[in-house]
Symmetry: D2
Subunit: 191 residues, 4 copies
């Protein structure tokens, strides 16, 4: 999906190429439930729901403006498999998630990662999209190797060919960090 497919408003949105990589890392082909934390415009959860007809999405978001945008975007694509929850993560959620995407953390990254570890089924995927150096450092410190395995992290820098003075140059977007990992099957580990 293109960024322009979504109703956006002033809320920051995960950019198209980052969304593609995040969806890939979430490995949703056989997933039943995705939790989209700090969902913003809802673009990651909505593109996931559209791509996988059997997937249910829980979108958690605290900003009223963003909540309204998620609702509008669900309506635009006639999606009834996206449940929208207003509130600050971490918050009580009676679900078992096959995959969790953290697109925004509101300064609560450590607590959200611990909470995500509790919500995920063993083998479930956690994908985190970050912009700030401080959040990158915090996330990598908090991914407890006793709970998460196969931790990978990439930096993605996309530049768009742009006209300037009769020619073209590659105008750089801000770089994004994408962390992905699996919740360890601790039962197997204990045996």
């Amino acid at each position: 999906m293109k960024d322009e497919d979504f109703i956006r408003g002033p809320v920051p949105m995960t950019k198209r190429e980052v969304r593609l990589v995040a969806l890939d890392r979430l490995e949703l082909a056989d997933a039943r439930l995705l939790v989209d934390v700090g969902a913003g415009t809802g673009s990651v959860g909505i593109e996931a729901a559209r791509r996988y007809p059997g997937l249910k999405v829980v979108a958690v978001e605290r900003h009223p403006d963003a909540l309204a945008l998620i609702r509008q975007n669900c309506d635009r694509f006639a999606l009834d498999r996206v449940e929208i929850i207003a509130g600050h993560a971490p918050l009580p959620l009676a679900v078992r998630a096959d995959a969790i995407f953290i697109g925004g953390s509101g300064g609560n990254l450590e607590a959200i990662i611990g909470w995500a570890a509790d919500l995920l089924v063993p083998g479930g995927r956690l994908v985190i999209n970050l912009i700030l150096q401080e959040n990158l450092g915090e996330a990598l410190r908090c991914l407890d190797p006793a709970r998460f395995g196969r931790v990978g992290c990439i930096q993605m820098q996309v530049s768009a060919l742009t006209e300037l003075g009769g020619g073209h140059f590659f105008k750089p977007n801000n770089p994004a960090f994408i962390i992905s990992c699996l919740k360890e099957n601790t039962h197997d580990r204990a045996l």
Copy 2:
């Protein structure tokens, strides 16, 4: 799909993140036929065929080693919708393509782009993945605005967090250029 999912050998392969962006730009949801030119290991065509069960793929490749790899990869994923054609593009193909991906051009980029314009249905998508500056320049010069519209080009630079001396740094992969465009509906234009 991960790069490790494919049998690779010494043949260069379109990397995972580039493949994701290329598949996105090819807009294959309603496509019936994709031509994968300079298919290499076949990774783009194969991931497309696996993702879209109604899609037929024609993979064109000239290197015998690569042809063997494409066959092995089709077998691995039990795909019978990928037709493999040995030869140098451009070559006669009695198909109408909804989308064409050029992953390798063997120094024939200008001729291949002209040939692609002939094969594509109006509104069909052309996506080109490039590494070399010379090919980037040639491709942008050859995308005749009378035949192709909505030309976009990005540079993608992915770096992987890598251990070094007790810490980590982002080791840069080589940058890739991805061009995407639509074949113009010249009939509409003429009216």
Copy 3:
């Protein structure tokens, strides 16, 4: 020198890190004359003149606004070794240059490179700073191996740590290309 050291106005200026690399590649320690083509604010020629007390600089610039800025910057640093020439390069110059810097070409890159080859002493250095893909391609095509040797080209991408929402990220500047080469000693070659 810092970018803020110069009086700038609306004229584009070679950025600090690019200027440092350009000055390094020009190898001015024993040079008597540097020609600064498309001098803009004059920053490259002026930093060169301040660093090397025996160096004379000829700054060629066609925009009246920029010419005024070069004069103001020479006054600010009390430099009387910078000769300012108003006009479009290539233009007649009765000098023998030890080094030439091309910071702007006004669409005349091919002609300017040929002219630079004529002005340079054998072994003289030519350094070109470029932003546009088209100019990069043209410059590399025009650097005739019979006239120029040891051609090198780098892309430099500088990002500045920048505050955002309580944290920091590296905000990317536009990338710059820097080409450097030597005028061949054709007399030696012929022997």
Copy 4:
């Protein structure tokens, strides 16, 4: 100076463009003493000493191989203004430094930054070159705003045009971080 100008061996060396930016940020024109910490091949201190005839350099290094290289490089350029000190920084040094460059920290970055603050004269410059994300985070945390002002940090990514299969691409070097700051004049502050 070119990287090839230095005798290198297996010791990591600050690369040419990074060295240029570091030397610029150190603002050595009126400096009497530079301390080069984790000097490696000595390239930063040696290029500084060659550029500024009135400058004395103290190079601190703990690896015997690197110490031998620094000596060889000083001999090559006939420099008698570089004092070489074998040992792990921080270590007692009876000097007042106008500028300090940290090119390597051996895991001691926090202690070295505190020690550098003690050695520097008020208004003295501290420049740190880093590769690892962990060191970047540590350095930024340790630059106490009561002791250091005008903190700036850039990421520099240099790519070299490189031949591949009949064409050229920009092969990326590993990115470097360069932090620069001034020691605050705390006496002035207290008044």
